[in-house]
Point group: C3
Chain length 264, copies 3
């Protein structure tokens, strides 16, 4: 698991600038966790601003949690700059499957941009895979079929890495399929842990020699930090500051020693 | 007080989806408290998205804390779907009385939509009641006249439940008037406790057999959680995580045992 | 240092209403710190609302952290009302120097409005001063030349107070130059401490007999609160609630006793 520890070290050393066009619900948490993991966050959505901001960024994170037409315009403009510069684009298709607008927007972003990583819950990933899946608001209502097959086939079809979060996070680049079993249930009781994972995935994808390894390292790192935070938290409220503290204090040694990764 | 405890149990069992069109200042707190009380939050404001989101929601919360024309458009569209589906609509008229734009928007929402519950501070409710009232920014500057009469008359005139928050929260459906004396002063020193109360009122109104009882149960539940949180908080900053923890840990037994409700 | 302690007392006594048009990343922190220092925050950006809101405010804070064309329109409208009413206007030029849109917008606000205080990091202030400076996202990448000269010359040229934040905060009104050495490194590891400082500067500028003294008092107060919070925080996550607690608990005696101000 030294491989994943090294990617965390690279994040800390390079401190990549992560440009995030994201929702207004969890944006503060995304900024703070980006700082805590060792990267540098910048949020900007105006079409007039995103071209120049993406030009100096090392990864672009697109999160459709509270989308509207102006924001989508900003995402497409920023995404085309990211594509030209060949920096990773992370898509978090929040609520895809819950409403047609979200599903269509996620699909549009996938069609028009060379997305590098798609990270969502089972319902969102299942929706994009065309499987029977349900999403209730922004929560997964489940997915039909074998999850490993779904992520691998979607990744192969789109030529990107797919992360399906859950009790076991599943990650695939279309050939490899890996599972990550780090993390605690408290992470599901706090708003924004999914969004935070996408932000951190951006930081890891920005520096990782292999994108799939970077995604695994991101999920492992947050899961281990969550495990540490759960030991000091009294509930979902105190879990948030404890989680940010644990992410900031996370060492490569912890990652190497506690990673629970299975290659299938 | 078993009646109120049972409504909390119903929230936990049903986990209703609460669609919130709200301000960007306290939206994260609203999402987290909705989760902590046992319901499921979703935030969405784009007119293209809100129709489908409201179709799967169990209550709609409209909060005008940082309103603009696009958001009002989304509120009216979502509200008409909520009306068709007969799900509760909660209005938090943040800052009504402080500026004409806020007062007029609150009045427009009340005229065009079958609002189920209006929850505001004394100045906001007084403004909507047409009494002499002052609002300074988003803080109540007080109201002239008997508060119980104001809430009862406004509720009777509009055919809805009115909650006037304060040291004693007053709740009326036009015939009954009840007072809730749970809560602590620290709740007034944190931004967003009023908005959080509206979010939680949405969750309780979604499942309560009687809306007024649901509103009382919501105010009692948050007040008791606030009392518990104040015991471990060192100030307004640490009160927030402690409050969320206390809401998540709140039991029906606590509600039944500590509710301070007076029917007038 | 009694002078600075007295300004804190005035904030607590007057509880000025601080109208903030700011970014959606740190807006909740800005609202809470405004409350904790003893003032009253209100956030509003719609051109339809800001005229009336600025009419009842005691200071206006403009923060371009997540700007767009609609928000700039609101800033200009609010700023012209603030100018007519002669209340302080604080500008936080977040990211000026990182993108042309941010630099141009900051310059436009400075040209069209009688800005009272500009508060930014070294890169942002250097950019506005026309010095060689770099900004990476929203983080300072440094500035060439003598910092004291840069802040004094910019303040003299624009006829306002300039605050350049850093390990030593430098403050000038064009003739006096002062340095504040309060604060801790943890403040730089949390998103939003800069924005919070601008909000609090608005509160102090609203009541201070002399604007430069008000700015010094604001930086001293937050620095001392940060020092206190660092003693109980386990990392950047727990630092935030501890910082808000410390700001709320801050006494004039602490300010008088711990201020580290140098007049150059």
């Amino acid at each position: 698991m030294q491989k994943y520890a090294k990617i965390l070290e690279s994040v800390r050393t390079a401190s990549p600038l992560i440009h995030q066009i994201t929702n207004y619900v969890t944006v503060n948490d995304c900024a703070n966790i980006t700082l805590c993991i060792g990267a540098s966050p910048v949020m900007s959505h105006a079409p007039e601003d995103v071209i120049d901001m993406t030009k100096i960024a090392s990864a672009l994170v697109l999160n459709i949690g509270t989308l509207d037409s102006k924001q989508i315009e900003g995402m497409l403009v920023a995404g085309s700059v990211a594509a030209d510069r060949n920096i990773p684009i992370i898509l978090d298709p929040v609520g895809a499957g819950a409403t047609p607008y979200r599903t269509k927007t996620a699909q549009q972003l996938i069609e028009e941009l060379p997305i590098t990583v798609i990270k969502g819950n089972a319902g969102e990933i299942g929706t994009l895979a065309g499987t029977t899946a349900t999403v209730r608001g922004v929560d997964s209502g489940g997915v039909a079929g074998d999850r490993k097959t779904i992520v691998r086939d979607l990744a192969a079809r789109l030529g990107c890495v797919v992360i399906m979060s859950g009790e076991e996070d599943l990650i695939s680049n279309g050939s490899r399929v890996a599972g990550v079993r780090n993390g605690v249930p408290l992470m599901g009781r706090l708003s924004g842990t999914g969004c935070m994972a996408s932000a951190v995935t951006g930081a890891f994808a920005a520096v990782a020699p292999d994108t799939m390894d970077g995604c695994i390292a991101a999920m492992v790192s947050l899961g281990i930090a969550g495990e540490a935070a759960a030991k000091v938290a009294a509930g979902p409220g105190s879990f948030k500051p404890a989680f940010l503290d644990a992410v900031a204090a996370l060492t490569p040694e912890q990652v190497a020693g506690h990673a629970k990764v299975t290659e299938y």
